[in-house]
Subunit: 273 residues, 2 copies
Amino acid sequence: MLTDLTRCSIHTMTMRPWSLAQTISGLQRVGVPGITVWRQHLQPYGAEVAGRMLRASGLRVTALCRGGFFPAKDKPAREAALVDNRRAIDEAVTIGAPMVVLVCGAVPGMPLSEARQQIHDGIAALEPYAKANRVKLAIEPLHPLYAADRSAVNTMAQARAICEAVRSPWVGIAADVYHIWWDPDAEVELARAGAAGWLCGFHVCDWRVETRDLLNDRGLMGEGCIDIPHLRNAAERAGFTGFNEVEIFSTTRWAGDQDAWLDAIVDAYRRYT
Amino acid sequence: MLTDLTRCSIHTMTMRPWSLAQTISGLQRVGVPGITVWRQHLQPYGAEVAGRMLRASGLRVTALCRGGFFPAKDKPAREAALVDNRRAIDEAVTIGAPMVVLVCGAVPGMPLSEARQQIHDGIAALEPYAKANRVKLAIEPLHPLYAADRSAVNTMAQARAICEAVRSPWVGIAADVYHIWWDPDAEVELARAGAAGWLCGFHVCDWRVETRDLLNDRGLMGEGCIDIPHLRNAAERAGFTGFNEVEIFSTTRWAGDQDAWLDAIVDAYRRYT
């Protein structure tokens, strides 16, 4: 159990109905020091203005979400994805985010082996730009539930294999308990990623036993069946000292009062993370 | 692509609204030679009567679904699960099913490592009874989507590890494309299971890209993103010569005319399996 909020960060997507300005003041009100910014919450301001707001807020920007979506049926579309990823890196620099989280992508109908190759190639092609800009690329393995259209990288082991192939201090892994909790190799892979210096992000939420929606029914910590402290401790034993980022997509929660939702998050963070 | 139905079997659950008698005559009408019987479709008749109906039908009973659900919070509940699994084996004998498919179970809140140990212990405890009755126990790894409450065995590799530990010709693996398609190790694990003589079941359906329900929104072959012939060929290269069992849970399909649904299955089986 965590006794304080010093390593707590919240994704703007967790407070989806709020603007970036509203989320910033919300986090200031409850004393959460970190914020991970999603690009759709940047967009209304532009990265320059958003960067000024974030610097003025005193909040620590933990990451920019999200880049990735590398695989595509033709070369121009893959090139366009790289262009967009470079733009994400630019935005990360502008708002002071140390990393861009990568949801690697998948194309329905494309063999997963091909998508996985294209993901490797995309990350390798992007790495020099990340390095030049001193922004990390954080590969987030997604639950196999999302293999059809969101990510063909579905385990920590696959993310590690990409890190091993690309071998750059600018390519690492963001581990999300929602995506990895079921994996019998989760702990050993957290240890490996940590030992190699690749573990750069850690996301928390919970898996609701009766999940009602495949995308937007994540649970608040404590509401589901994930042993979050167990995985967090495994990450910390592996040397992880970064923020625990609260990333919860929930249609139900987004429909309610967001201040009350934020209070519930902070309470659950202290009790169940 | 399969040119004939000689290795086609259909689960009674695929035709859920139908009674066993209705499914038997449906399969006879369309010339599908195999049937896998779910216990809830046996129950209204009892295994004796159902066995007589099945023998008279000339259909080949490919499996009984399902046993398993080994983990439980206390010993009496685990013992009760074993009693029920022995009853499933008895029913399999009575209806002439060569195997009982195991959905291994999981208990929300119980660490997966513990559930996995209890599954191993349950299968090991059940094996002598399976052997004595000459009924195979087919471990079906379930998609990680179901790790919370249905099965803590979520990959072919985990099922293989249990087979390796128990080492019995009466314990094998039922591979379902729905559960394994995302797995980067699916092919190599099919090869390993086949080479060891453990691959005893093969289930087909499809993964709908826009899955609307976690349990009952499986797709008909061709409706989703699984490369079924690819996996079927991998199983056959590994020596699998058994039936391709069509197992589709679909609230939408169950709500429609079941004769039309059965015709659609047969058509899709020929085109996309």
